[in-house]
Assembly symmetry: C7
Homo-oligomer: 61 residues x 7
């Protein structure tokens, strides 16, 4: 399982990511937190967004 | 996982948040409670709303 | 988690609530029961309705 | 949780109920069985129907 | 819970059943197997079909 | 539960099966693997396909 | 269960795969990670994509 998905998320902390949601929306910003459900915390300038993991299609570091 | 999603929710208690639901609805108000499923309690003036977590797309403190 | 969602439901027992379902339907009545899945029992005059929790969007006490 | 949802189902055994499903269908008949997932057994004259609980919106005893 | 749903399935083994799926499809045949998820095995003459339980709306023995 | 669904899958290993998915797609080929979620491995000539079980409607050996 | 789905994924590490998602999208690239939920890591040149497993329909090594 070399490079398991959650390990790749861990390595992406404090880096820019693009997140695609099931509804088609895209979020870009700095990944500042996540958990095992792929709930995410994205910061973009002053804005912080918590995304519930079940909405996530893909995350591109 | 610096700043896990539920830690960010905990830090947002008694603060204004905007919640986006899967159906496209938005709720704004004071976050007065949550649990590990992201079930939320939002207060807006006299009104209290319990939101079932599986409807949540994102929460912006 | 001050005022967790299920604590707010507990405090709403025997009070009037409005429940919004995913299909857009609304139920109003007295909340006479619930469980940890947010399955609900609503009484409205002579009528009793059990609502399966996974249909619930929000509950307003 | 006075009058939990499953207790109300238990009390409704052998009584007439109306079940609304997510697809909009309605079933009426005698509730002759259920389990913790809200899987239901409904009897209407000679006909017996097992309904898988995840289809259920509401049950009105 | 007199006549729990899975007990009714057990009693229906080797009998004719009609299964309605979420997509609207109907299957008729002899119920030759099931499990606790309501995964089903239906035999109709030479044809055997395994149905994944999460597609099932109702089963009529 | 005579002939439980997973036992029928086990007995179908290395045999031709037709798999119907929720999206309407059909896969035909040799069943060379499965697990308890009904994740499947289907081989058709040179092509191998892993199907995630939650997409499966039915499997016909 | 000869050749269980996750064993086939394990054997496909560092190989080219094509992934079909529920929304109809296709991803092609080198599979560099996965986990038991079928969360995947796909690399295509400079681009890395984490795909949340519940979006996956099929994976073709």
């Amino acid at each position: 399982m070399s490079g398991r998905p959650l390990d790749v998320l861990e390595a992406s902390l404090e880096e820019e990511v693009t997140v695609q949601l099931k509804g088609g929306e895209m979020y870009s910003g700095t990944l500042t937190g996540y958990d095992q459900h792929m709930n995410l915390v994205i910061e973009d300038g002053e804005d912080t967004t918590i995304i519930r993991g079940d909405n996530v299609v893909s995350i591109s570091p």
